[in-house]
Assembly symmetry: C2
Homo-oligomer: 291 residues x 2
């Protein structure tokens, strides 16, 4: 994991200003000194700089349509070739797949929402969507929609707006799936190579494989389950829904309840019997569920 | 859908006070005049009142552990029997399954976070989790964890906090899946009886079936796809992930790309060829994705 840090850094809150890219890099907010995207294809992207260099960027403040990197002429800065799905471009897609927060830094004069001088750290965004398009210059560009996380000091937050039964007729926009992983969760998913412990399926998107980490005894109050590997399962989204909502459970002998077969368990993964017991005791179709 | 309204009502913002349950009911914030939970097993719960009547409730302000209804002695208010998974209790679970927001009203004196007088509407919460437990009186009770949506006037928001690669060592808590449906999305899911149009699977949890609505041409800027049935697919979570992240696509002839077979389409569901075309043009493993 190379020490790449996603999300807020200690002492760095939105609004902090920096004179140069070197200072930004020193602070750890955006390590590369030239590239606009900080990230790797294996880990995802942790920060971007909106420098105003891309003619197809759109900065609406809380919503940014960001252009991937590559294909620009070094001298003129104009788009002269297609952009590929490698490096930072792919890293941003992986951040989207895994719901990783991206630090956004704006350069002075980059757009209407940019600060008056130099560089400003503007907090965390989620990569809500990514696609490709034909840019103004006629070349293929990668595009990303980033949405501001409203309250970085309090929690990681995600936006989901709706129309319909909801009264406010706003522009609708949905972030579907936000499973932000803990370090332990990432380890377990990697151990299983993203295969579901219940059905064995391995989902693969353009940016890589996808699975979800399910905590057996829930993390929040009043359960206060621990974030340890013994309390985590690697599941596909379908079985995560079923596990969370009483459609499938795991017995003491690891036999599945509500599905056929047994839970697949890697030799290096010790599952805590006490967490499974807690889950069976408090969740699912037990005593008072269908009276 | 009987006119049950989820989320904010026009003109009603958090903090508004009411003298009586009748006034709350008139305002539409919480229609039943006695029951603590407003909702049905088919639609979900749209509001609750924290009246302080349940000895097992825990009110931490932004986080509430709420007790289901039933099993209390009319005279003493004490728990004298187990609670079942019917009516409002099941409705709250359905709201959890579908990510529906629940209006929370606090009665004066109900808990430390309650207002000084009468009833106060305190905004929208999500049912993050539900389970059962043995209450103080030794009977089975249904419990629900509700988490405050931070900014109801701006958007529906969901909380997801993490440890690990994220620097702040806070109490971890995760809401996994927030697919808030539009009216059109609900219609399409009902039309397919929650069967995935790609694989045919139908997931069923304790509170009912579960599927997700995927907009073919995305709703938000810059795509601005419309929220109409022609632009919506009913998918299982697995295929929703794959659809959103380039793992599966739909051809002009409705043949699946990246999976075997064809998209299942109900005779009453006309899918817009222009939306599928937009999707194929801008998403997926096309020209610049793997160079």
């Amino acid at each position: 994991m190379s020490g790449r840090v996603f999300g807020e850094l200690p002492g760095s809150r939105g609004g902090r200003r920096f004179g140069t890219r070197a200072e930004l890099s020193e602070a750890g907010l955006h390590r590369p000194r030239v590239a606009g995207i900080s990230g790797s294809e294996k880990e995802g992207a942790d920060s971007i700089v909106l420098s105003g260099g891309y003619e197809d960027d759109e900065d609406r403040g809380d919503e940014i349509v960001y252009t991937g990197h590559g294909g620009r002429d070094v001298q003129t800065g104009r788009q002269v070739a297609d952009q590929n799905f490698r490096g930072g471009n792919r890293a941003l897609a992986l951040s989207s797949l895994n719901g990783l927060p991206v630090r956004v830094i704006r350069k002075a004069g980059a757009a209407s929402h940019s600060p008056a001088g130099d560089y400003r750290y503007d907090g965390l965004y989620l990569v809500d969507d990514y696609w490709y398009d034909t840019g103004r210059s006629g070349f293929r560009i990668r595009r990303y929609r980033l949405i501001k996380l409203p309250n970085p000091s309090h929690a990681e937050l995600t936006v989901s707006e709706e129309r319909g039964a909801y009264s406010a007729p706003r522009q609708a926009s949905t972030i579907t799936r936000i499973v932000r992983d803990t370090e332990q969760a990432r380890r377990i998913k990697a151990l299983y190579d993203y295969e579901c412990q219940i059905c064995g399926i391995r989902l693969v998107g353009l940016a890589g494989p996808y699975a979800e980490a399910a905590h057996i005894r829930s993390l929040g109050a009043p359960h206060d389950g621990p974030d340890v590997s013994e309390n985590i399962l690697c599941l596909c989204p379908n079985h995560h829904v079923l596990f969370d909502h009483g459609g499938v459970a795991v017995g003491a002998d690891l036999a599945l309840i509500g599905a056929v077969g047994r839970l697949t368990v890697h030799p290096k993964h010790q599952i805590g019997a006490e967490y499974l017991r807690y889950r069976r005791k408090h969740y699912g179709a037990a005593p008072c569920s269908n009276r």
